[in-house]
């Protein structure tokens, strides 16, 4: 089967798969960003056990392959009495992974701020949480836009782990296997999905760059 034939037969499924990939990416990314802020706050707070816990979280989820994480969530959690829908499993695995990397991005954003501004904040009487909210987090967010853009693309690609569980509808990568068990599309089957990923990544990159130019902090 050539590309046009594939598209004629499976076009609707491809679109649905693209929407599934987009939806899982968007949901995972939004949750992961919120979680990354929380983890980062833990990692810089004055309470040592929280700092340790935050660092531990990042070390664990940054250093584990997405697919392993998914397998653990799908096959191990039910033994603990927690059975989640497959789609939720994929999102959870992606969130854990992406939030760990996201926190690393925020940490390097924080490191660009410099202790001087934090001391200045404290010396006008701002407390810990005010200093975080007014000085540290806004700057960390703004200087993390580019790495976070890359991470959004990584998040998009990570949702491909969804091909390893029976999602319905499948996402872009899962659909490739689905079609290839029925027809002999070969590389062309993959090509259409790949276009979906590349197109999305280009849009994410474009938007990220625009945002960065707008919020970048002059130094």
């Amino acid at each position: 089967m050539g590309i046009s034939e594939l598209w004629a037969t499976y076009g609707g499924m491809y679109l649905q798969a693209l929407l599934t990939t987009w939806a899982m990416t968007a949901v995972s990314y939004v949750i992961a960003m919120a979680l990354a802020v929380l983890i980062t706050v833990m990692r810089v707070c004055p309470i040592r056990p929280l700092r340790v816990l935050g660092d531990f979280y990042v070390q664990v989820f940054r250093n584990i392959a997405g697919i392993c994480l998914l397998i653990i969530i799908v096959y191990a959690l039910p033994n603990l009495g927690l059975t989640l829908p497959y789609r939720t499993c994929v999102i959870v695995a992606t969130v854990l992974l992406v939030s760990a990397f996201g926190s690393e991005n925020f940490m390097s954003g924080i490191n660009t701020i410099g202790i001087g501004q934090i001391e200045a904040a404290r010396s006008i009487g701002l407390g810990f949480s005010q200093t975080l909210r007014l000085v540290v987090i806004p700057q960390a967010l703004r200087s993390a836009v580019l790495p976070m853009t890359n991470l959004a693309i990584a998040c998009l690609l990570t949702t491909a782990i969804g091909s390893q569980v029976p999602l319905s509808p499948p996402e872009l990568t899962g659909l490739v296997s689905y079609i290839n068990t029925r027809t002999t599309g070969g590389i062309a089957t993959f090509l259409i999905s790949a276009l979906g990923y590349v197109g999305t990544a280009l849009v994410i990159g474009f938007v990220g760059n625009r945002i960065d130019r707008k919020v970048r902090i002059l130094r």
Partner: protein
């Protein structure tokens, strides 16, 4: 003695604005502050001078607890400096601090830099805070820059904004840690002039600086530090013209040399 010096307050019985009693501080094995005893009267201008590494910054920073101390006592207006929490934040709000590297908030406008403390710490309504901030920026000569961000200003302008930011909190006293040493020579005076005005206005000031002309014009007292101790203190003219210790003489020779 020059006529510009304000009177200070060596009045018997008056509570000093800042008092350090037997303050000790280590960084690991390094003994940076050794039995520091110091009183700064209300309205007094104290200049701290001494070789690099002698503990001047550390001493300055202990006064608003940017550095903790190992032992001893620090009293602000007669009250012990709180160790942490809201009380410490409140105490810091009453002590201005101006750093060598300005440390303006890079992501906020000049105006926001000055209004942040009053709005967030003191709960002043925004409009009111902005009006007083503009008046302060006017006073330090950078009102036209209010809408810019710090990186768009020269070093001298940034340092004057930093002073305005401290003043916006109506501090009881202000510390300056080498406020002009990161500046190009042509910008030093514009900052020193603002500080002279402050001193004349009766502000209590602790100023770490090697600017002798500034010290002679406005300091009530000069303290010479070396190796974590206060080696010598006296009026600027006494100290600069007739230092009593060998260390102070050597040090003054070395800074007069260039």
């Amino acid at each position: 003695m020059s006529s510009e010096q304000n009177t200070g307050s060596e009045v018997a019985g008056q509570v000093p604005m800042i008092e350090l009693r037997h303050v000790e501080k280590h960084f690991g094995d390094l003994h940076v502050l050794r039995d520091i005893n110091l009183k700064v009267g209300k309205g007094e201008v104290l200049v701290v001078i001494g070789p690099s590494g002698s503990g001047k910054s550390t001493m300055c920073r202990t006064i608003n607890r940017l550095e903790t101390i190992d032992s001893g006592e620090i009293l602000i207006d007669g009250k012990p400096l709180p160790e942490e929490g809201r009380e410490l934040a409140a105490a810091r709000a009453e002590l201005g601090m101006v750093f060598q590297s300005f440390n303006l908030f890079a992501h906020r406008t000049i105006l926001d830099n000055v209004t942040m403390g009053p709005i967030e710490v003191q709960g002043v309504p925004r409009k009111e805070a902005e009006e007083s901030a503009m008046a302060l920026l006017e006073r330090v000569g950078v009102a036209e820059q209010a809408a810019k961000v710090p990186a768009q200003l020269s070093g001298g302008q940034q340092q004057r904004v930093a002073i305005a930011r401290s003043l916006a909190m109506h501090p009881k006293a202000m510390m300056f840690d080498e406020p002009t040493s990161a500046l190009d020579p042509e910008m030093i005076n514009e900052v020193l002039e603002v500080m002279v005005e402050l001193a004349r206005g009766g502000m209590t000031m602790v100023v770490v600086t090697h600017e002798m002309s500034f010290a002679r014009r406005v300091a009530n007292r000069v303290v010479f530090m070396a190796d974590g101790t206060i080696m010598e203190e006296g009026s600027p003219d006494e100290f600069f013209d007739h230092p009593t210790t060998e260390r102070a003489r050597d040090f003054l020779d070395s800074i007069k040399g260039h």
